[in-house]
Amino acid sequence: MIWDLHCHLNGIPGRTPDEKMARLIEVADRMQIERLVLFMGAPFLIAPTPEQFREQNDQVLQAISHWHHRAFGFVYLNPEYLQESLQELDRCVKDGPMTGIKLWVAKRCDSASVDAIVRRAIDLKAMVYQHTWLKTTGNLDGESTPADLHALASRHPEASIICGHTGGNWELGIRTIRDLPHVSVDLGGGDPTAGLVEMAVRELGASRVLYGSDVAGRSFASQLGKVTAAEITPEEKQMILGQNLRRLMSPILQVKGVRL
């Protein structure tokens, strides 16, 4: 069972979200990927206005509308617009089919507005995916580091939070969030560097490690290969490739009456 935590419509050929989605599913089938989590539309917008993030979320809603048996959506928000973000969270998660939140690089996550979003996510049992990178070459102004995420997550032990990209510089990211058991790491979106999965399993336990690809910027292949080639047990690979995500998403799926 393979569930991919991290997929985008951006970069996939197709004139409409439906066409892009059909192509995404076609290639996912080749790789035996059963379920996909989508967030953000096309093109990527690093600081979307409320109008823009609503439009991006509409693209995802449209894309998954014919694929509810294969795909989930996370709502893309911008904490710079807190009230509008909370309204959008209700529209897409509370009243819509989405199951989580995606926060990217508009604002560093160690801020009060993100606290408010996470509190609402806890109420809704929604997962919170926060992009993190600690770039040797320097971060964007609004780009969160694993340390920012640690600060946020420390204030919300009831939340289900994902450290995007394992912090990019994963040896540092893993160390940074190690003491927070409610924080999982997304393996996707970085080079398929050998040793990443082994360290994550050793330091966090396999139950906190999630396969995600960051397709279409990345390939399914390069990111799946991190897990399939890792020197860990077959049981740990199964957890990482799908079982963990299914477990983490179960509370909100139960609320929505989704049966797997």
Partner: protein, 257 residues
């Protein structure tokens, strides 16, 4: 399958699961690799490259001479680098050499680079240029290097029409338009280790002819499966797939003789 992009020895700031030659060789064989063109990570920072290349040859011989084909490291910033080329060719019988310009502080505009091309053409050897070894965003802050600028190659290739130039880890790290121009200007090849994107190989063969693509894994720094699974993610005509997995590499070696 022929893997044109593997390295032996230790990565400078991390142990890798397959950084013992015997373990790497076993993994390659298990994955259906019949031949791998092996450089050495020692080439990144060592100054005694004669010793590093000798060690590389000994390691290749220690496991299976047919499996691991040594590709010596050359640093054009070192005094008497030509002697390292000579030893690679005459002493070790190597088929080619690998440059790591990002770690050796020169550009491809350097006059020594043209000299190297002449030497290799004369000796019927192939050239590998590692355009990057690691994503700059994840590099150790004391080991930061930039991707190699390939534009100067354009003006040189015309003078060396028979010299095979293999650009390692170049795809996704430099301009796609330039790749097509380089492939048209000379005998330039690209490996797929850093190829990304949904069904990336299907897209890649639209911009670069399949006869210029080579299977390369960048093992053991990258997980081998990442390259292998790219062949499953893309639907390619069987002839193109065979070119990429081995036929192009076989042809390069045959034409050196």
């Amino acid at each position: 399958m022929i893997d044109v992009n593997v390295s032996l020895s230790r990565w400078p700031n991390r142990r890798l699961p397959l950084d013992e030659t015997s373990k790497l060789a076993a993994a390659l064989k298990q994955n259906g690799v019949s031949e791998a063109w092996a450089g050495t990570f020692d080439g990144l920072l060592h100054n005694d490259l004669a010793a590093a290349n000798k060690w590389l040859v000994d390691q290749c011989r220690s496991v299976d001479e047919k499996l691991l084909l040594p590709i010596g490291a050359i640093n054009l910033s070192l005094p008497a680098w030509e002697e390292d080329v000579r030893r690679c060719h005459e002493l070790h019988g190597m088929k080619g050499v690998r440059l790591l310009p990002g770690y050796h502080d020169y550009t491809l505009e350097d006059a020594r680079f043209r000299q190297l091309l002449s030497l290799l053409a004369e000796k019927h050897m192939l050239l590998q240029i590692a355009v990057r070894q690691e994503d700059p965003r994840t590099q150790h802050r004391l080991l930061m290097t930039k991707d190699v600028d390939l534009k100067p190659l354009m003006t040189l290739l015309g003078d060396f029409p028979t010299l095979p130039v293999i650009l390692l880890n170049a795809v996704s790290s430099s301009a796609v338009e330039l790749h097509g121009q380089l492939a048209a200007a000379g005998k330039v090849y690209f490996d797929i280790a850093t190829l990304e994107g949904l069904a990336g190989l299907e897209r890649q063969v639209q911009s670069l002819p399949s006869e210029r693509l080579l299977f390369g894994s960048h093992s053991p720094f990258f997980a081998f499966d990442s390259a292998k699974l790219k062949l499953e993610e893309s639907e390619l005509p069987a002839p193109a797939r065979e070119q990429i997995t081995h036929l192009n590499a076989v042809k390069i070696l045959e034409e050196l003789c």
